[in-house]
Symmetry: C2
Subunit: 344 residues, 2 copies
């Protein structure tokens, strides 16, 4: 099946395009009424993630409803700790909770990793196969995983946190143990992304959601090398988007990992990013997701101003996942403005 | 009473000193066994804050126990929304909750502000008077308040948040209302800090804990001007420390507010900060508070490496408040290393 809209893949590979492609992190989710219906039918988020049929449907919803230039597989970064041996539950309004966490060496040794863990995620691969088939070449399909540092945070803390101070403390207290755990997560992530690609993902994104909790020195020691290992292990024909939220201090190093695209949060100006990473790599982002709460005519202006500031080699997106209560008028104004844009 | 140790004030005013002064954000608090005893006696954190006698005692504890070069008044940034008309409670392991929040124009109109609000905080001024008297010139006494944007976050959200997306959305949805509220908070903060200085504060810190939730454009519109107004309104003989956590993108502008000191979180290298702000302003920070969980000999090395990287015009501190379960051995290694340092 030939791709009818390959804007995303072309930008990610460094080719030129008439306008930036656009998609939104968390586009498959609660902003869409059809998603909320599906979620109600599934009974829980975790059920939805685990049902290939429903996950594929959620993946396709924003393509039909919003006209985005890419689909991203509906899943969760926390399927990796689960596959490795730490199951989680999602508690309404509170977020994920892991009854078991990693405290000592034997906890790491007890984890599954690499192929043995990745093969437990057959439901994700099946969702990808279904989604890819049903997309029928309309737009590319994005696979993803969490970055090792971000997954490490959950495996140590057992839940979300404002500071991730337990996870950060572990890097100072027991650096060798931290590296062993990061190593296992990395192995598993590589096997997982390879299988995602086999199942139909045409590009993959690595989400380092808690990158900004680390200072530059710790990021360089405990986060960056593992992202680089994942990027280097994958088929070079499949582009990688590295999105390290809050890691403004590491952009130039992230640009050297081999990732074709760097994701930017909304605190980073395009000018700052370009000065750090040079002209070749593509940049993705970075409208403040809260800008979509403004009246649509202001969303149009904010989007145009972002597009102008980025110029070419840009994938239009938000600087973070779209928030669940974002008005669809704002979302549509954002997407339509990008789709109407033309580079000179 | 002449100050026996005026290192902090001298650095904040641009004078040279033989070694950097050292104190820690949240030094008066749960790291100290004597604080935990006092807190148990008070019955609740809020009782402790409201008792001038006990708050003064908490203020002095780290001076005696740790030998820091400054005392910071034991209080909470949330006394300001409370004085303005939004009381809060602290829920164990969850943080602050405001039963009433600001939703519309009439909510802002109903608030007290300026002197009328500040005069409700007599218990803070009394705590400052007591603490200043008991310090007896040993070290300077720091007063503080939250920055208007950070206080705004709580008044809109009614609680902490990982994204403060409601507060940020308010800036896009209703910018005029946001400015009116920020204006009132600013007026109140000025009146509050003036009274703190009258009561004995010799230097003040403005905590913009949620600065990093905003992008540069929003920060420039909704955060920076209000910090500047506070700094400009205060007696120029009282130095101001502006600590905008996460606002790496606004350092050069923060340096122009008139603040004598900029606080840095641990993601910012001294070299980056100096390149942004020039040589004249003092910098405060910024060891990762998690570095104190390492064995003491490593804390010494990390502290020395920080001191070397900053060079002069530096106030040694952590990049964020010390975490409650930090081992005292790590804390002491940090403080002693700074106190043993000598500039060439």
């Amino acid at each position: 099946m030939e791709l009818q809209n390959d804007l995303l893949l072309r930008v990610a590979r460094g080719a030129s395009v008439p306008r930036p492609p656009v998609w939104m992190m968390r586009q498959a989710g609660r902003i869409l009424p059809e998603y909320r219906a599906l979620r109600a039918e599934a009974g829980s988020f975790v059920n939805l993630v685990r049902s290939p049929e429903m996950a594929a449907e959620a993946t396709l919803q924003p393509v039909a409803a919003l006209g985005v230039d890419a689909a991203i597989i509906f899943s969760d970064i926390l399927v990796i700790p689960e596959a490795m041996g730490l199951p989680y539950e999602l508690i309404e309004k509170q977020g994920p909770r892991f009854p078991k966490t990693i405290e000592r060496s034997k906890d790491v040794e007890a984890l599954l990793s690499g192929d043995a863990a990745a093969e437990r995620l057959e439901y994700v691969y099946e969702a990808l196969r279904l989604a890819r088939r049903r997309l029928n070449g309309r737009v590319p399909l994005i696979g993803f995983c969490g970055a090792p540092w971000t997954i490490f945070c959950y495996m140590i803390e057992g839940q979300g946190s404002k500071t991730f101070s337990k996870a950060r403390a572990a890097l100072y207290r027991a650096p060798a143990l931290a590296h062993r755990l990061l190593d296992r997560i990395t192995e598993t992530s590589i096997a997982y992304l390879e299988r995602q690609v086999e199942a139909g993902a045409q590009i993959v994104q690595i989400f380092d959601s808690w990158a900004g909790a680390l200072g530059p020195e710790q990021y360089r020691a405990f986060a960056l090398p593992y992202i680089e290992r994942i990027v280097q292990a994958l088929d070079p024909l499949v582009p990688v988007i590295a999105f390290s939220k809050g890691a403004w201090f590491a952009l130039s190093e992230l640009a050297k990992t081999g990732a074709g695209v760097l994701g930017l949060d909304w605190t980073i100006t395009p000018a700052f990013a370009r000065a750090q990473v040079g002209d070749r790599i593509a940049l993705q982002g970075n409208l403040d997701p809260c800008a979509l709460y403004a009246p649509p005519e202001q969303v149009v202006r904010a989007t145009e101003s972002m597009l102008r500031a980025f110029g070419p080699r840009h994938i239009a997106n938000l600087g973070h996942g779209v928030y669940p209560d974002t008005p669809l008028d704002g979302v549509r104004a954002f997407i339509q403005t990008v789709k109407g844009w033309r580079y000179q």
